[in-house]
Symmetry: C2
Subunit: 256 residues, 2 copies
């Protein structure tokens, strides 16, 4: 019996150099790659002989259903193929990797999880913002900004300033999120940042305050993804940007 194998692989935040060696190895061995939006197209060069199949969401077009993705993986593996399910960031951070793993296990398909560099940490890091920093934050909270039922209980309860807040997929809800935090008691002057398209050529950093995050001063998202960071750690990024402006080749910084 020639059973295939599925690797659930994190592609990192965008820059192909932030793929892990294990991810590269899985891609080189792949017969089929099922990939998401935001995966850099130059990654395709790593596995030129594989069949690349796009299963991500695209604006104004229906996205491929999760059941369909699962069925594609299972069918290929049963035909003896090596499949890579290539997901942005880390497969287990807001990526439905767990659901895919359960579907594969239920079908008796062998699989592995290859963790990746998560955008939640790397997007701020690439703007020199550490999600933790001694004296400022010894922890962070990551939530999806996709719907209020998900982020509301977390952000509505956590003690103001006790941890850095990172929101993925939160650009549309940024006003609600900022107001929720301020309503919980967070100071409107708390530093905040939005990292657009981190680690790609379209990278842009907005630095302001929690109060400004709720205003119109944040650039329009257009079709770029954005990571929101709220907390005093943002001041480290702002400080570093100022200190290193002369010696570093930095991404553009816009201030509110």
């Amino acid at each position: 019996m020639n059973m295939g194998f599925v690797s659930l692989v994190g592609a990192g935040p965008g820059d192909p150099d932030l793929l892990t060696r294990k991810a590269v190895r899985a891609l080189r061995a792949a017969d089929l790659v099922l990939y998401d939006a935001l995966v850099d197209r130059t990654v395709m060069r790593i596995a030129p002989r594989a069949h690349w199949f796009y299963v991500g969401k695209r604006a104004h077009r229906p996205s491929v259903r999760q059941e369909t993705i699962n069925a594609l993986m299972i069918r290929a593996a049963r035909r003896g193929k090596c499949v890579v399910r290539l997901k942005c960031g880390d497969p287990f951070v807001l990526g439905r990797g767990g659901e895919e793993a359960l579907a594969l296990a239920a079908a008796g398909i062998r699989f592995e999880v290859v963790p990746g560099v998560t955008t939640a940490i790397a997007a701020p890091a690439l703007a020199n913002i550490p999600v933790t920093h001694r004296g400022l934050a010894s922890g962070f909270v990551l939530v999806s900004g996709h719907d209020e039922a998900a982020y509301g209980p977390v952000l509505g309860s956590i003690a103001p300033g006790s941890a850095t807040v990172v929101v993925l997929m939160g650009l549309r809800a940024r006003v609600d999120i900022a107001n929720l935090l301020m309503g919980r008691g967070w100071n409107a002057a708390t530093p905040a940042a939005v990292l657009f398209a981190a680690s790609t050529t379209r990278q842009e950093t907005w630095i302001g305050t929690l109060g400004a995050l709720a205003s119109a001063s944040v650039p329009s998202a257009a079709d770029r993804p954005g990571t929101i960071v709220v907390g005093d750690v943002v001041s480290v990024g702002a400080q570093l940007a100022g200190m290193t402006a002369e010696v570093q080749d930095e991404a553009s910084i816009k201030r509110a």
Copy 2:
């Protein structure tokens, strides 16, 4: 003027295959590597011509002071050297990477941050536990278990069950952490896991409950690092371990 360069590089959770391509490139170009405990020694083969200098903490021995590490980086860079500061996991997650970046910037040294795969996400992932999972958790909280002043305000405020809790460096404080959460209203039956030495050959997974985490049923840590995870997502890992026991080559699982 022949100015050097410093890369603050995340080494990932332990497995050298979880280094990013960018980390490998930085290591290959390095003249000097300042590395922490827990960095796998086989990583040294990537940069055999570099001088490797250990600056991590070791039990029963005084650790190298942060000021000394900063001074070593700055001195080498001023002599035109390429320096890699190789840190476990991600350099900006509880790793003092921000402090090192500030010291470098203050000294006028060019530097870059190379994000890595964080142990906080990869340790659970390698035990098939997703830190987020639709219907169970759409976010997670990461804290250091190093001292109560740091994790207390976060874990003492967050609404029970509203997010997965991940604690790094929390093995010694696990009883206090479990009691703090239960005092806040978390159910003692909430699934919990401890991931020991994730992604290394000494990897071991303990799966139990929040109540059991506060008991003596957790294996002794010995000298292994451990990652604590509390939340319903742990049940996904337990479920997958059961489903895949026959087809997967899994790390040993001990149940409380």
